[in-house]
């Protein structure tokens, strides 16, 4: 059976590059009012932008195995956060690094003799590329690793970690509050591909142009 899940990224990447067409009309037309926007760079000027946000993550992948005792209760919706620093050069394409905190899921088990709980979470460590679709709408695609951690409470407590290759794709809208500050909303697809852990999150972001030259 053919699996196309890995190519969801390819489709989104394609949409990402197609939408890049739009910015030809917008982002290169800089006027005084535009240059006051946190997401816009004047020609010849560079900046570092910080994105810090939090929201809710919904785990979509499958959880558990046939080894798990009966009566599992899975919690898939959990808090999440993002921390991203992007370098905005004087053109359309941006690059940066992203981290944060993804709470994937929790499930409990109950068998005849014991009960237990498993929590899986991840810290993304990604290299992120982005393009502004319009002045305020941005698309991001990241590649790198997730540091995954299991917290197991079952006949003892174990906290164990490992790295997983992963990607993410997100789109956000940034409403400027001042020339250096903005507030935004972001929708993100997260995929720790090596362990097949994935889901979608919605977050509120604070955007801060903290350094410009």
């Amino acid at each position: 059976m053919c699996s196309i899940k890995p190519f969801i990224l390819l489709i989104i990447f394609t949409t990402f590059l197609l939408n890049g067409e739009l910015i030809a009309q917008d982002s290169t037309k800089i006027n005084d009012k535009d240059s006051a926007e946190v997401n816009v760079q004047q020609k010849g000027r560079y900046a570092f932008i910080l994105y810090a946000g939090g929201g809710w993550f919904n785990y979509i992948g499958s959880v558990g195995s046939s080894g798990i005792a009966s009566n599992t209760a899975v919690v898939r919706a959990r808090p999440t956060s993002t921390f991203r620093i992007m370098w905005h050069p004087d053109h359309r394409l941006r690059v940066g690094i992203e981290s944060g905190y993804e709470n994937f899921y929790t499930y409990t088990v109950q068998n005849d003799t014991s009960s237990g709980k498993v929590n899986l979470r991840g810290i993304p460590l990604l290299l992120v590329w982005s393009m502004a679709v319009t002045k305020r709408l941005n698309i991001f695609a990241g590649f790198g690793y997730y540091l995954l951690t299991t917290d197991l409470n079952y006949k003892g407590h174990v906290k164990s970690s490992a790295f997983s290759l992963g990607t993410n794709v997100s789109v956000n809208y940034v409403q400027p509050l001042s020339p250096k500050l903005g507030i935004g909303a972001e929708l993100k697809w997260t995929n720790a591909t090596q362990t097949k852990d994935y889901g979608i999150s919605a977050q509120v972001l604070l955007v801060w142009k903290f350094f410009e030259w």
Binding site: L10, T14, L17, G20, E21, P89, D90, H91, L93, L165
Partner: protein, 244 residues
């Protein structure tokens, strides 16, 4: 999947577009010096184009197990004008212990001032060696790479390329100690689909950002692990390069 089936849908779309369009004269196209290396842009006023970057490949866990991410490969590409529509291309991929050199020819056809087509073929020679503890191995081989590309130049400086490339294995040789294995069996090795973005990045520097889906029976970067299997293995690859 045989080559004709794999490339057929791609060819179909290209023919549909191409049949309704006419070729563009050179004086209506802006210069693309330092701006395109994968994008099929004709070399009217320049002799050379080149880029330097990295490619990064991941391999499926069930095949290569713990070794998921290969060492990034240096990726050097060069184009040399032959005439308005033909160009010679060369490519060097190096991971020091294993390397590939490829040369080929591209025919570029501008269909409009925004849409471009190219067809080409190349030959690649790969070689590798490992003589550290537990290894006394060498390998080398030849492959050929017929390819087709479609490029779209946006109103800004963004160049988008979709490229389909086949791989045909011509020859393989490996040594372990004094034991040699060689095969001149020519077989269809698989296909690679690439989507590339080329655009200005900072100042006047242009960047290539590409994602490739490689589906091969044998891939030269994993020569030490196995020769070939009778099922295709999927290798996603990212390319980042600066156009010089």
């Amino acid at each position: 999947m045989p080559i004709k089936l794999a490339v057929l849908p791609f060819l179909l779309v290209v023919l549909v577009i191409g049949s309704s369009l006419t070729a563009m004269a050179q004086d209506s196209l802006p210069e693309a010096k330092h701006a395109a290396i994968i994008f099929p842009y004709p070399m009217y006023s320049e002799k050379w184009r080149s880029s330097i970057g990295l490619t990064l490949l991941t391999t499926p866990e069930d095949i290569t197990e713990a070794v998921r991410v290969r060492v990034p490969s240096i990726d050097f590409r060069v184009l040399r004008r032959i005439n308005d529509h033909f160009m010679a291309e060369g490519r060097i991929n190096s991971q020091i212990l294993q390397n590939q050199l490829a040369v080929g020819i591209q025919y570029v056809l501008p269909l409009t001032d925004r849409l471009f087509l190219s067809a080409g073929a190349g030959v690649g020679y790969w070689f590798g060696f490992l003589t550290v503890e537990g290894f006394n191995s060498k390998g080398s081989g030849w492959l050929t790479y017929p390819n087709l590309s479609v490029g779209y130049r946006t109103k800004s400086n963004l160049l988008i390329t979709a490229r389909a490339q086949s791989s045909i294995n011509l020859y393989y040789k490996a040594f372990n100690g004094n034991e040699e294995l060689s095969s001149g069996k020519v077989f269809y090795n698989g296909e690679t689909f690439t989507i590339a973005l080329e655009q200005p990045f900072y100042h006047h520097k242009h960047l290539t950002l590409a994602f490739s889906a490689i589906n091969n029976y044998f891939y030269w970067q994993t020569w030490l692990l196995f020769y070939r299997v009778n099922r295709k293995i999927f290798y996603p690859q990212i390319t980042v390069g600066f156009i010089l």
